[in-house]
Symmetry: C2
Subunit: 203 residues, 2 copies
Amino acid sequence: MKKISVFNHISIDGFFAGPHGEIDWFKFIEKDDEFETYTHQQSQSSNTLVFGHTTYEMMKSYWPTPDAIKSDPDMANVMNNSKKIVFSKKLKSVEEGPNWKNIKLLHDINRGEILKLKEKEDITILGSGSIVQQFTDLGLIDSYQLVVVPVVLGEGKSMFKHVKMTNMKLVDSKTFKNGIVLHTYKPAESDEETKQAGKLSQN
Amino acid sequence: MKKISVFNHISIDGFFAGPHGEIDWFKFIEKDDEFETYTHQQSQSSNTLVFGHTTYEMMKSYWPTPDAIKSDPDMANVMNNSKKIVFSKKLKSVEEGPNWKNIKLLHDINRGEILKLKEKEDITILGSGSIVQQFTDLGLIDSYQLVVVPVVLGEGKSMFKHVKMTNMKLVDSKTFKNGIVLHTYKPAESDEETKQAGKLSQN
């Protein structure tokens, strides 16, 4: 079965970006071969990438540039060529370019439509706090991969802002030499749902 | 050398308490013998405990009661008899009782005074967001022990609210069967200070 995942870096105090969307604190991530290999492996999967408007604009302004392609060709290749969905009420259209392809614009988050998409492909949300919040409250997310960066921001944007209290299950915790801990959680409720589904199918 | 530590439970989204100080989400912590043994061992040390006003009142309303003494005698013994410091501008005096002893009230956080105290004893801050914030900004904390509980709150109190951006070093990460991950961090600057001190002493 296909999955919907979140993959985000967060600070010790739980922010995925500074108060104005800053990700300059990524500079505190020390070089670590094992960590780099791991994140590259993750990104090589042919997942459909999902963004909100803000994260989309940030990605678009960086990854198709010669700088990005030179400094991280593998990741640039993934970001530029993967199937991408951007959710935005404001955007009228999305522009493709020679280095920036396969973009689909959706104006609304429709649970049924997303579940239908999930039948065919694995989906990964990057950044995009408001999308994570809405997907979480709709019970759409199967897996949260949170890369805890050893830095305290003091203020910032939470990807769980105002979501309803959610009990999670730790699936995996992996520590890297550079002090990063990668937590993988899934909603604890999905177990209940599975049990419930099991019960129902036995009736 | 003695140490000043923080020991706090936090949610996945980084809160040590709900928006009104709630800790009812602790109920999501599944029973885990190894985790209980670990936290009990930690608490058996003869550290001086430090609280802000709010956390102090909460502790005082619970630990000296017959209920608390019956349900967790070891922890109640530690909480009720350990040396305790409460920082509060409002409180005029602190009241001791047969089950609630060794309390000292301080009105201000004085860096020199605290460092002098640290010469003699290990200090642990529990809860007390505003105290953690002030101690952090004064560079007073040697170790942060953060018990990450597998629950998302959506909103709450951060113990790092408005502290200046601080790079940390992961000292240890320990995963328990109940999905709790205990992160131990120290400020990365303390390494620099050590180097600096080393340099200075060689001149």
